[in-house]
Symmetry: C2
Subunit: 96 residues, 2 copies
DNA sequence: GCAGTAATTAGAAATTTATCTAATTATCTA
DNA sequence: TAGATAATTAGATAAATTTCTAATTACTGC
């Protein structure tokens, strides 16, 4: 896991929206792109960043390329975050 | 919590290093800066970004300004992440 | 092989971000 | 109050990022 790549990938709102779209299951590049105003070329750039961070996986299916979420990275990321912030017992939900 | 501000703040390696330095407890701007090559002005910019993301808190103590970690934000961030990635039972540590 | 569709890659323009030097603000001490 | 120290703010430059159009690659089906 390249920490820097993951953080940079998550820093862009369009890329986070892509990840959210993939929650419902794998989608082709075109299906993902339908939800955004930007061009396919720009989308493709974002896919590259997400792939480099290992946040998504791709698989060619004939004419299409199918994207899916790589959930295992969230575990790595969780480790990094708990390393970045001091432990506090693990309770959550009392702030807001 | 402004999600975008937090992600953007964490996207820079210098800022993550600042957060790590603060793990040991509160430090003055100068003490933090001693560990980095960049100028105080640049550091100050990073502090601004971290403050805007509510990741650090500041307090003036006489001539000094003391920075400390705001751990509560990690809880908000955890929520965002678990929202961004599908739930997977909650176990961690089996991937390497 | 050729036309059509899906997606990426190439190259450039516009925006944002990180960094610098110089100037300013705030505080301490004599 | 004046000089020294800590830190920020202002303004500029350099580097990185996002986005675009145009061209290219990969596959389908005739």
């Amino acid at each position: 896991m390249k920490q820097q790549d993951v953080f940079k990938a998550l820093a862009d709102p369009t890329r986070r929206a892509i990840l959210k779209r993939l929650q419902g299951g794998a989608l082709t590049a075109g299906e993902i792109g339908a939800a955004f105003e930007i061009t396919g070329a720009s989308l493709s750039h974002h896919f590259t960043v997400l792939k480099q961070a290992d946040l998504v996986r791709t698989e060619r299916r004939g004419q299409y390329i199918v994207y899916s979420l790589n959930s295992t990275v969230v575990e790595d990321l969780a480790r990094v975050l708990f390393d970045l912030f001091p432990a506090r017992g693990g309770r959550t939900g009392d702030k807001s």
